[in-house]
Symmetry: C2
DNA sequence: CCTAACCTTTACGTCAACGTGAAGGTTACG
DNA sequence: CGTAACCTTCACGTTGACGTAAAGGTTAGG
């Protein structure tokens, strides 16, 4: 065996600016998230520099996603991350035990937490989808009216019906989950 | 005909507190939205009290929905409402003209605006759905692992495979849009 | 060893989205 | 004709989520 002092691979730790640049955040934000208890850097350098590992990066990506994409507040994100934290801890515990019963318990706990996350996310999407549905309903009505109108302009009953059908079909095509 | 002085039905105007109570907002918020240009009360009383009509209520519901459900900023909401405003104006214009060409133009404009609204909303849901998808992917993996584990616990190879298949099937059932 | 570029903590500044009075006018009720 | 419960317009306070500057320590390169 070569001189490897354990399973100590040390998979590359980044300093705050590198992390910020890579993820499109500011160093300030990252420190702020730490202040708010959303994450802890994997370690510190001799000179007390914050050092981040890939788990930290995952977590930050998660935070940024929730903030930018979903418009969650940091408080809400903290809730979701609590589950995420336990999930990470469970991964460690899972790797350290070989007792099937304990492993089973860990996995089941993880499942519950993920389900909770999905519920929270789904609640938001559902309401958004409802709004989209309303908009689409209006769009369909408008499209129908427009079709009738163009038919009227054309002055021909036969052509009118054809136009109406075509327009209606087009509207239905561009639409997903029209109903709410 | 009875003595009705026009089509002047005056469909009930509410004062700010009644509106606030009905919609779950505060009077302050409603005034603030007005400050920010998100709405104008339908009228004022003799004593300069703000008076709100049902259109105002619709608008406020719209605002509250975007704020609470979607987490949009007032600035973003203003964007969406600009379209909503024009839509309301167009409804009026539409009722006042009988020129088919003008009517057609109004409807087409309305369609464009609704499409824009849907695009904005869809962008948010898409990203949320992506997150849900990730979570579901994790869930499926966990469920698989759990199945293997329970099979192991059972100690029987045959039973193990059966359990794994059953669990896998269950996971796939509860899942929509697993992939991202 | 020196210097530039990074990092640290501390602390005050800022902007959105309101909350919370203050000082006074209005409406409804008895 | 009170008076309590609403309303008005200022105007300042607050909270969340950072920005920004100060005063100093650290790290990497020449």
């Amino acid at each position: 065996m070569p001189a490897q002092p354990e399973t100590d691979v040390q998979p590359k730790l980044l300093r705050i600016q590198e992390v910020a640049a890579q993820l499109g955040l500011t160093a300030r934000s990252i420190r702020y998230y730490e202040e708010m208890g959303l994450l802890e850097p994997a370690g510190r350098s001799d000179g007390d520099y914050r050092l981040y590992d890939s788990d930290n990066l995952d977590r930050l990506r998660f935070i940024k996603g929730l903030r930018d994409d979903a418009g969650f507040s940091l408080a809400e994100i903290a809730q979701l991350l609590e589950d995420e934290t336990v999930r990470a801890r469970n991964r460690t515990r899972f790797g350290q035990t070989h007792d099937p019963a304990e492993r089973r318990a860990i996995l089941q706990d993880a499942l519950v937490r993920i389900a909770r996350q999905v519920d929270i996310l789904r609640a938001k999407t559902d309401r958004l989808e409802a709004m989209i549905g309303e908009a689409n309903t209006r769009r369909v009505h408008l499209t129908e009216h427009l079709a009738e109108l163009e038919a009227e302009v054309a002055g021909d009953r036969e052509t009118a019906a054809a136009h109406a059908r075509a327009a209606h079909a087009a509207a239905a095509t561009g639409d997903r989950r029209t109903d709410g």
